[in-house]
């Protein structure tokens, strides 16, 4: 059998002679990416990478962990230390990483299905412990990668391949869940709000504690199509029309309901001891030494 070695590919040119401005953060040999046209994952990724660039964070000090699903591809596309975990396990992996290398800026970049269905238990416990990581959740309201099945954020009456006549289960309000589980920084944006999202990611990256940002994103191929939301541009128009920027709103009051106005902004930013700080304090107290 012939040996087929992957050929290193040069970065694709955006326009003749034009390089991708974020090239240094991307594994360009892995591009073009697999995301559908109109998907919001690209905006989420570039907002994150611009945040890194503007903060002048040393790429060696950042690690990206993702789970399974469309958003699971983040880990493979970034030229950073990254890990693609099994379904749902990004947060426990990130917790281990953070404990082993407390100076590392650990970012979990994954989707709603991965973080809140199969991995939901890990989310609430990492938030409860206030593990010092940043969780970026791209919420497209369904399992996009496997073909658009109902998930934990699918709204009531949402059409998916497993709820062809409408979902009847209550969805999560992710920001409320995060806040009530103990997260110390909680925000929500859509992929329309690319710059605000970037600023929010910058805040989160600098904020010690469990940081959570929900990024509402179009999924024109699956959720958008089945729910007749139009193309990605229509969804962006929808965000422009319905997303109300408010800060400091009680997350319990911030449900996302189709067809209705919804709140984006920063819900919460508080400081409380992180898991590692508490751990160090206990070791100091018991043994009189640094952890």
């Amino acid at each position: 059998m012939p040996i087929v070695k992957p050929k290193p590919k040069p970065a694709p040119e955006v326009l003749p002679g034009v390089r991708h401005p974020l090239e240094k953060y991307l594994r360009t040999e892995r591009l073009p990416h697999i995301w559908c046209s109109g998907c919001g994952l690209g905006i989420a990724l570039s907002s994150f990478l611009y945040a890194l660039e503007e903060l002048e964070i040393d790429p060696d000090s950042v690690a990206v962990v993702s789970g399974i699903g469309c958003a699971g591809r983040f880990a493979g596309y970034v030229r950073l230390d990254s890990y693609h975990t099994t379904h749902g396990r990004a947060i426990p992996f990130a917790t281990g990483l953070k404990l082993a290398k407390p100076d590392l800026n650990v970012v979990v970049f994954s989707g709603d299905g991965d973080l809140f269905a199969i991995g939901g238990n890990h989310f609430i416990h990492a938030a409860r412990r206030n593990v010092d990581i940043t969780v970026l959740c791209v919420n497209n309201f369904n399992y996009g990668m496997t073909g658009g099945q109902v998930g934990p954020t699918t709204p009531i009456e949402g059409r998916t391949t497993t709820t062809p006549y409408g979902n009847f289960e209550h969805p999560f309000n992710l920001v409320y869940l995060a806040a009530s589980a103990g997260a110390t920084y909680v925000a929500r944006w859509t992929t329309l709000h690319a710059r605000r999202l970037k600023e929010s990611i910058k805040e989160a990256l600098q904020h010690p504690g469990f940081n959570f940002i929900e990024i509402i994103s179009p999924c024109p191929t699956n959720f958008g199509r089945r729910n007749r939301l139009g193309d990605a541009l229509d969804e962006m128009r929808y965000y422009a029309e319905k997303a109300m920027i408010r800060h400091g709103v009680d997350p319990a009051e911030a449900e996302v309901v189709p067809g209705k106005e919804f709140i984006v902004g920063k819900f919460l930013e508080v400081r409380k001891p992180t898991y590692y700080e508490l751990y160090r304090r206990k070791v100091e107290e018991l043994f009189g030494r640094d952890a």
Partner: protein
Amino acid sequence: MKKVMTGHKAVAEAMRQIEPDVVAVYPITPQSEIAEYYAQYVADGIVRTELVPVESEHSAMSACVGAAAAGARVITATASQGLALMVEILYIAASMRLPIVMALANRALSGPINIHCDHSDAYLARDSGAVQIFAESAQEAYDYMLMAQRIAEHKNVRLPVIVNLDGFTLTHSSQVVETLSDEVVKGFVGDYEPFYPLLDVDNPTVWGPFAMPDYYFELKRAQQAGMEAVPEVFLGVQGEYSKLSGRNYKGFFEAYKLDDAERVIVVMGSTAGTAKVVVNELREKGERVGLLKVWLWRPFPRKEIADALAGKKAVAIMDRAISFGNMGALYLDITSAFAGREGPVFVNYIYGLGGRDVPAEHIVQVFEGLKDAEPGELRYIGLRE
């Protein structure tokens, strides 16, 4: 009726005709379409099944166990990591003697992550106490889904049954499948009579309590008795189904041009189809080659397979997964069946891991390789080294 359908559809069609009370599933490639087809049947009101789109496979199997203990007829489907997540509860299902039927769209286990076919998921559940059957085609997947129901629910068995079908190769490709009428299937499958259902409120029962060193061992022995009851039930169900369907299911394996064969391949799943083509071609050239395709893998029909292979010159046992640190599990099964008995030269071929294609040339090479085989050799086919 003959129709062209994918393996997914064939399984979903069998499920529709069985119409279980509960289906609990979680999406995973290459299984997801089974759940999608079934969700459509539920939504259209074609079946009265309660479909529970749970939050993980661990929850799927847990919901199945709960529903089955309550007295429901239950089916689920998964693949790879999904099965890995289910395995904890699959052991519980087997030990609680719950006849849960599962379609397993075989896919390689991580890592590295891979979505294509091999049998490492089925091998992971080898010792779980579930009965395991391998299908060669979408037709066999349909047929065995129906037969699995009867085998699982037989009073002497009452164990989970896994019907394996190769991911993508069978799940995503379209084949001609002959289905039975709904009426015939309903009659064949019959009504389910659960044992000690939790919903029998007049006779309250406790499920899942402790069994310490005083009883655990006896319960495991009883579970083994359930497995020991499978072969007879399997043959009986096959016989009945063959009459209904006109298809010839007879025995724990299919012997293809095996009687006078000198060199033999033993394999499970869709690769048997490729092997049959090669056997035919080599037979035309006068080579005495044959195939043994395993249908029933757990419980393993030790004696019958050993009898069928005794007297052969050389046998290639093909495993689509490695038992790391040892040989392939099917190889170990068959060679151990020859304990204290004269047997042919056995060679173990590991093939097709992570969906590596298995073209006819590879099967030709395996038959060719049997001409100079050293007993007990571990070989790899289709591997770059």
